[in-house]
């Protein structure tokens, strides 16, 4: 492989890293509160708000069921507003984040729901406020599950980021398509696939490791 190609490879890898890192980070920061709200406003939970909960659930489902490639194109005006441009790595972060937030929200919600109602009751009996219940019980108890959810989200983002080429986002997936497929360079394609596999493996093992370290059950 030529030096030129290697540079290209490295740049693509960095682009993937930026897209996945930034979108993953933003989706974590925004998705965890979303998951919390979905949970605590649910029926029988600490702050039940049935109408609000159902509406938010519908919105989340709508976002989740829109195919990523369509979402990316459909929100171009929003992307331009937020990123200042509708093409490039930075621009790709917007749809990636928007797709990942509801995904994280649902995964976080699932982990929070697994927290035994008995624990919530025990701290309610101690006189805990809803906010204290969230901070002292729900999040710490669900943390291993939340970390698992975030790992799943990152792995999915690595896959989604391959489609970012459609808006000029670059990244490894784009490299594979442009060189490996369109220019008939099977070795580049193979290389891209291998790197992605290794990348996913690393993310997954780090996530598993962290989740296990946090789990005292």
């Amino acid at each position: 492989m030529s030096a030129e190609l290697l540079t290209l490879f490295w740049d693509s890898f960095v682009e993937t890293l930026i897209m996945v890192g930034a979108a993953g980070g933003l989706a974590t920061v925004l998705g965890i509160p979303l998951g919390l709200i979905l949970t605590v406003t649910g029926p029988g939970h600490i702050l039940p708000r049935p109408v609000f909960n159902r509406s938010l659930g519908l919105l989340v489902n709508a976002l989740r069921s829109t195919p990523f490639i369509i979402l990316m194109v459909a929100i171009i005006p929003l992307t331009r507003l937020l990123a200042g441009t509708s093409i490039g790595t930075g621009a790709a972060i917007v749809p990636l984040t928007l797709a990942a937030i509801p995904f994280v929200g649902r995964l976080v919600e699932a982990s929070l729901r697994e927290v035994d109602a008995g624990l919530i009751e025990a701290v309610e009996a101690m006189g805990a406020t809803p906010l204290q219940i969230v901070r002292k019980v729900l999040i710490p108890e669900a943390l291993p599950g939340i970390v698992n959810g975030l790992t799943i989200m990152l792995v999915s983002l690595i896959g989604y980021s391959a489609m970012a080429g459609a808006v000029g986002g670059g990244g490894l997936g784009d490299l594979g398509i442009r060189y490996g497929y369109q220019r008939f360079m099977p070795d580049v394609m193979a290389m891209v696939v291998v790197v992605l596999i290794v990348f996913v493996q690393i993310v997954q093992s780090l996530g598993d490791h962290l989740s296990r370290a946090l789990d005292h059950r």
Binding site: G118, A122, V123, A125, M126, K136, L214, H216
Partner: protein
């Protein structure tokens, strides 16, 4: 300490009275300060609902709950949270946070109350000593036995220095030996701290070993209450009898009783149960009956036991002899404050 008046709780139904569950109705209870008060009843009788109404984990549908002079049903959210710090609670399944160590579990109620770190250390350490878990302070609940977990639960419930401790089936997940050690811990705490304790259980042995007074719930109503000694030695309600059958006054199997008694009954003998409590429990009454009244007594079954440190016993006897002397003997027994019940067979 706890005064419950005309308490009722319905579940569900959504306005349609027909399918609402009436879990509790017309409950009146008074629990005095420093007392250990038991609540028994069949499954579904409403025991858990009743204790959960005491700290308002369950909102009563009607009636009032006063704890330490404070009317809980009238409090707003913030006041209720403050009032709950006066009421500790322990649970059948312990409900410890798996993400926290033993120490941090016990510290939790103090953190919630905004107690500072130095004070938390100063208060948690003696509690861990009290429940015998000082060495396990850095362990996680998953690394503890059931009995140890319940000790953490107890220490946690005591952290805010409550005046009342609610126990819902606190020993039901534990083996008999561990149960005994938890009960003696509870008794110890009750004595040392003067804590008022409410114990819900389906284990009559727990009531017998631990409680001062007991209330019997049946289908959401209190059908009998009194000192454990009275209720257990002289149960009035059918449900109470059924519940305590296994811990007091064990009966002979009906078939065996009939086979033993029938030959004597047909020749004029009488089958009696003598129930004696207190001082009468160790009087030599059989020999007195034989010598003084010239009766023949055949003991079919007997037992002696102790409730709250007071002995009581029962004897199932076949009494044969002259009818007049038998009547004199019965009068004498009653004079000795021995309860005499005729037993029917077949």
């Amino acid at each position: 300490m706890i005064v419950i008046e005309n308490l009722a709780k319905h579940y569900g139904g959504g306005g349609a009275v027909g399918n609402a569950v009436e879990a509790l109705a017309g409950i009146d209870l008074r629990v005095e300060a420093g007392e250990i008060f038991g609540i028994i009843g069949r499954s579904g009788a409403g025991k858990s609902t009743l204790v959960r109404c005491i700290n308002l984990l369950e909102r009563p549908s009607a009636g009032s709950v006063r704890v330490a002079g404070r009317e809980l049903t009238a409090l707003g959210d913030a006041e209720l949270r403050a009032a709950r710090r006066d009421i500790g609670m322990i649970f059948q399944h312990f409900n410890l946070l798996s993400s926290r160590t033993v120490f941090d579990n016990v510290a939790l109620p103090l953190e919630l109350a905004g107690v500072d770190e130095a004070e938390i250390e100063a208060r948690v350490a003696p509690l861990l000593d009290l429940v015998g878990l000082a060495e396990q302070r850095a362990r996680y609940p998953a690394q503890l036995s059931g009995g140890q977990k319940q000790r953490v639960g107890i220490a946690r419930a005591l952290a805010n220095r409550p005046r009342v401790l609610l126990c819902d089936e606190a020993t039901s997940a534990l083996d008999p030996e561990t149960t005994r050690s938890i009960l003696s811990l509870l008794r110890d705490i009750n004595r040392r701290l003067g804590l008022t304790v409410i114990v819900v259980t389906h284990e009559m042995q727990v009531i017998k070993d631990l409680c001062d007074r007991v209330a019997v719930l049946d289908r959401g109503r209190v059908v009998e209450q009194g000192s454990v000694f009275e209720v257990f030695t002289d149960p009035r309600h059918e449900t109470t009898r059924a519940l305590i059958r296994d811990v007091v006054g064990q009966e002979l199997p009906a078939g065996l009783l009939e086979r033993l008694a029938q030959p004597h009954l047909s020749t004029g003998g009488r089958l009696l149960r003598l129930v004696f409590t207190g001082a009468a429990a160790d009087a030599p009454l059989i020999s007195v009956l034989t010598r003084r009244f010239g009766l023949d007594l055949n003991i079919l079954h007997g037992q002696i036991d102790e409730i709250q440190g007071r002995p009581f016993g029962s004897l199932l006897v076949l009494m044969e002899g002259v009818a007049e002397r038998r009547d004199e003997a019965m009068a004498w027994l009653v004079e000795q404050s021995i309860r005499v019940e005729a037993v029917h067979v077949g």
